[in-house]
Symmetry: D5
Subunit: 121 residues, 10 copies
């Protein structure tokens, strides 16, 4: 696996597929560019998911998050796109992505999107 | 869009209308005047909503919040009026507005109003 | 309205009676006397309510709270009496009163009482 | 009432028996002895209850808590015994006792036990 | 019981088997090795359970946690294995194990797994 | 000593007069009346002192603080008067009194006054 | 004294002019306009001073702070101007004014200016 | 060394006697009895010292602290006595003992005493 | 002034050059690349300075900080280079730059450098 | 440089040797064994230093800290040994090492040692 920013997320087999359990990841180092002004935006991305057959591989998440560094992205859109990409590759039973963005114009924005039905755990 | 206080809220299309997801905004810089004494009041406004076809546009929210600066407004009333204005322009699936006001006469007031039924997300 | 301690609570019309919404008040400056020892007791009173036709008027709450300053009052009893008085004058759809008292004899006491059924908001 | 450690809990009449309301007590000064090693253990005891016909009397709770000072007591057992004693004397509609014990061997233990069905309040 | 790292968990009889109650343990001193790089990983392990006939014995938990010190273990896997081992020895009515791991590659991971159906308490 | 509010502070002999050491007291339950409006004011009083031949007796401090309950007192003045009274009765080597008052008119006031030269300790 | 915004600060005699002591004021409700963009700025103003012959009168400070509401003012300049105005009217032995401004363009600014030499207290 | 409460403090040789360095100990589990009322008092004891030829041995500190469990002790006196005992056995270059006691009668007391001159470190 | 990343810092005249006062800036959105691995690093930059004839202009600081986004920079070096650039353009009487970097390899690094002698303020 | 635990610390040239500046490192993942009981101990190590001709290389610090994992080490001794090793390899103008250890037997220990004279910065 190269150490380059990359949109290619990787998975590994879930060693406990018979059980519903939750994995929570916090990534405080997301940055992209504002599509309107071209200026940098910063966020913490928080992910919680209940894996099915696959776990998200940590290093590929890091490179994936890195891949937004020089891309333009609106807050609401990018949070949903991250969610879609994670669903496409890992097909979790349930997943939530939160984008917690820095203050802009005196306003703080937090976007939260989910996919699937959360099992009782 | 002019940089003037304005009651005119703007919207942009929701890029992910097929999904119920939540946007949360925190605006710690609301100020209006007390209708009884004419003296300044201060509040943090917190908004959470599930967009339908439109997203609230951030800069217009800022100008809208600014428009209360020289208006008289009671705590309970202004929180509901903000809610009504947001509903009128963006028609979200669900929305909550919280007005968290500074201490007056040794009493702190927080008003919370919602519109619509919150989807399971 | 005189600036004297007074048990007479005042109300004002609810400007948004068609909506269930919540008003929360925090009053950190309640003091009364212990009926057994005559010594001062201190508490923070927290109120949350869903108004029906009337809002509680802030200044009269302040004078009402002040009226306990030289009265004897047990923790559990006074919290319920405050609740009863607020219900009598404002007839809210739902109301909660919390009395959060200072440590006495190494024990901290918090009393919480409600009236009515809380609407979904 | 003597100022001596004592297992005898006292009650006083509940002045508002027609209402379900909650009383919460926090007692950060519980100490007993470890039955295995004889060494002191320390805990904060937290009690929440919905009174029926009686309130727990504060001073007797203090003397009751004091009575464990030179007794051996396991964490799980003593939390349940305190619960049983409170139920026996005050017969509350619902009660919860939490024993929040200090770190021993690098492990912190918190035990939580309840009795009765909590009313909606 | 020897003071050596050991996978052998011990139990003691539950003195209050007729009641559903909860025991919560926090163990901030878990360390293992990363199976990929061989480097040390650190975590806080949090356990909550409702005992049935047996309580987990504290000292054996300490030695059990210690036994991972020189083992390779993935975050998701080891949290589930700890859960399985606790279930095998103590057969609790319900149990939750949380592994709260240190930041690696700018990402913090928390894994939460449960077994059984939590009683109402 | 009667359990009545009283301006009469008591002292006890300092058991370690050969050593400069510090005693710090925090009293979060001070209340007096505003001389201008007659309305209640609230403060936390903090005292630090290096005793000489006498220690301040705790119960008499409590009754002394209580004695301000129905007196009019300005923030700056009352903090200095408390300092003067403590100096008069206990003649400490050094003493500091801090009056930390509640918000009035949107402004929080803290007054700090000292007497004597603080020894190196 | 009228309840109108006003640049006219008032003083009252210092009741303890023989002692060096400190008065600290915190005013979280300062707002002015940015001279470049015309948009609102928000700050907390903190003042500490050692009075000489006069104390600053609280209500006039409130009206003085209010007087900036519709004025353009740069962060560094307005903090120094407030300091100058307080020095001109109260001539304290020492005074510090801190302007703690909200985030603008991702940068938070705090300005601190003093006048006179702080006595040892 | 027996596992019994004991006033006998033990020392071990300082492995780095050529250097001035500081050791800080925090012991949150001190309890004694009030000499006036016989009721339990609780404190956290904090020690900082610069060792000379000896270090204080940890287990003996634990048994020493335990030895106060059934003794009467005033706050100011016991803090100084602990200091004296530590000085007598370990003769540190400098030492500070802080007794941070629980609220009694609405007043919190912290006593701080030192011995020797603190080296520059 | 263009809205492009730029190493060119701008200054404005200090409106109060006769007084020593302090300006503190906090910029939580610094990011650069690790020169060894090419991977992104993140930091909060904190600046405190006593201006002489010039103030640092806020928007140019923002563009300057942005200019490191795609540059390789070691923690210790970049903090000193920022300091040097600020000194070169604004010639403050005293300045401190702190670079507070995110955890890497389980280690958090904070670098603090100053220039000039801090006046007494 | 191998990825193996190693006592061999590495240095890199200080790019700004003409300036006194401070580097602070926090390493929350230190673990060693208690020489008396063989059981694991845990600590956070904090280092602050003013470099002279060399900077401590981060990855070698990580491997150095790792090297204590299976060694016996007393709290006071190991903190001083780490200090000595850092001084030997990097010869800083001033350095401080703090070892902040977990609770053992109800007592928390923090050891702080320095070398050299701290320059004014």
């Amino acid at each position: 696996m190269p150490t380059q920013p990359s949109k290619r997320l990787e998975v590994v087999p879930n060693p406990h597929p018979d059980r519903d359990y939750e994995v929570a990841l916090e990534i405080p180092e997301f940055t992209c560019l504002c599509p309107r002004t071209g200026q940098p935006d910063f966020a913490t991305i928080r992910i919680r998911y209940v894996p099915d057959r696959h776990l998200l591989e940590l290093k590929s998440i890091k490179l994936y998050i890195w891949s937004y560094r020089n891309e333009g992205a609106f807050h609401e859109d990018v949070t949903n796109r991250i969610l879609n990409d994670f669903v496409a590759v890992a097909a979790p039973r349930w997943i939530e992505v939160v984008g917690d963005f820095s203050v802009r114009g005196g306003i703080k924005t937090v976007v939260r999107a989910t996919h699937g039905t959360r099992p009782e755990i």
